[in-house]
Amino acid sequence: MHIFANPARFLSIARPATPWLFWTGLVVLLAGCACGLFLTPADYLQGDSVRILYVHVPAAWLGMGGWSGIAIAAIMQMVWRHPLAAIAGRAIAVPGALFTAICLASGSIWGRPTWGTWWEWDGRMTSMLVLLFLYIGYIALARASAASGQSGGVSRVTAIFALVGAVNLPIINRSVVWWNSLHQGPSITMRGSTIDMAILWPLGLTLLGFTFWFAAIVLMRMRAILAETKVEARMQRMARDAAVGERVPA
């Protein structure tokens, strides 16, 4: 873990990994979407609308996985004072929020032809909407901490907010089990899957593809933050030198 504590060593791995993850992810996710759109059979009950599954499920996984990553980064920041962890948390926020929004939008679009409604305030939908608001709050706090000179990372308050928000993750996961909800129960559990293989297989491709792409975006954003931090540090040094130079003429 501490191998990555050094930004130079992190960059030597992140630089070649970024395009590799990006292009592999994009190709695999597009291939998975194409298979899901044209190769799989329609569902016995839902008909063709079942195809929305192949983007809805990866979006839910990355929306929740993103916040798990932010929470882990927050723990590493608070306990080990890991400099890159604070930057990683900030880099995950925007793609995580994007996937949470995609999950809500694709779910809403899926709900209209199947359930007969765009939106209902059931446990799953409400808790997922709360996750989107948590992301928006985190992004705002991260911006504020960047402005107050946290050298690219996020402030302690932001990290604490990430941990508090993590409480929502088990609630989202269990919402369909605890409460009577319009959303169906989990299909893929420890005991196996209630999705027939004929329908299930492209989901593996889109899950893998979107995850690789997500990782590439996080690396890109971390590299951008590290480069900006370097420029800012240099500017501050120059400003200080200039101020000193004025007071003591050569």
């Binding site: 016995y44 009950l45 306990v79 199947t114 007969g116 088990p170 609630i171 319009l182 329908i199």
Partner: protein, 151 residues
């Protein structure tokens, strides 16, 4: 010294995390009834819902119970959760997925006779996904009936 403070921070953060998740889960379980999106027929019977009170009723549409009235737009059916069953009626256009043997969430209220008068129907499907051919049944769009042998 540095090692010790790192340990302290780890323990503090872990305690805080456990406390937070515990509090969150407690709050969620306390909300259990309020956060339920619908009543099941068993809930409605045991808790006693006043006639005229707007609620949602969710369960399975009992196989063989769906009857279409002479006017063509009113349907009568039984909603069951395995423990109890209540009669329901609805006038209007039901969603595509509304059919016998599948889930339904009906918005409306009970009348004095104990029949649930729905003002809106939502279809609820379960966690099973499979191709049509595999299930060996076809769905008639006009009668809302499943035709063929159900496994």
């Amino acid at each position: 010294m540095a090692m010790k403070s790192k340990h302290q921070r780890l323990i503090l953060v872990l305690i805080a995390l456990v406390a937070l998740i515990g509090a969150g889960l407690l709050a969620a379980s306390a909300l259990k009834d309020e956060a339920a999106y619908f009543y099941t027929p068993y809930d409605a019977k045991t808790k006693g819902v006043d006639p005229g009170k707007a609620i949602r009723l969710g369960g399975m549409v009992v196989k063989g119970s769906l009857k279409r009235a002479a006017d063509g737009v009113t349907i009568h059916f039984q909603v069951s959760d395995g423990k109890a069953s209540v009669p329901a009626t609805f006038t209007g256009i039901a969603p595509d997925l509304f059919r016998e043997g599948s889930g339904v969430v009906a918005e409306g209220s009970f009348d004095k006779g104990g029949t649930f008068v729905a003002t809106n129907l939502l279809a609820k499907h379960d966690e099973r996904y499979m191709p049509r051919e595999l299930d060996g049944m076809s769905y008639n769009e006009t009668t809302h009936q499943i035709e063929g042998q159900v496994k």
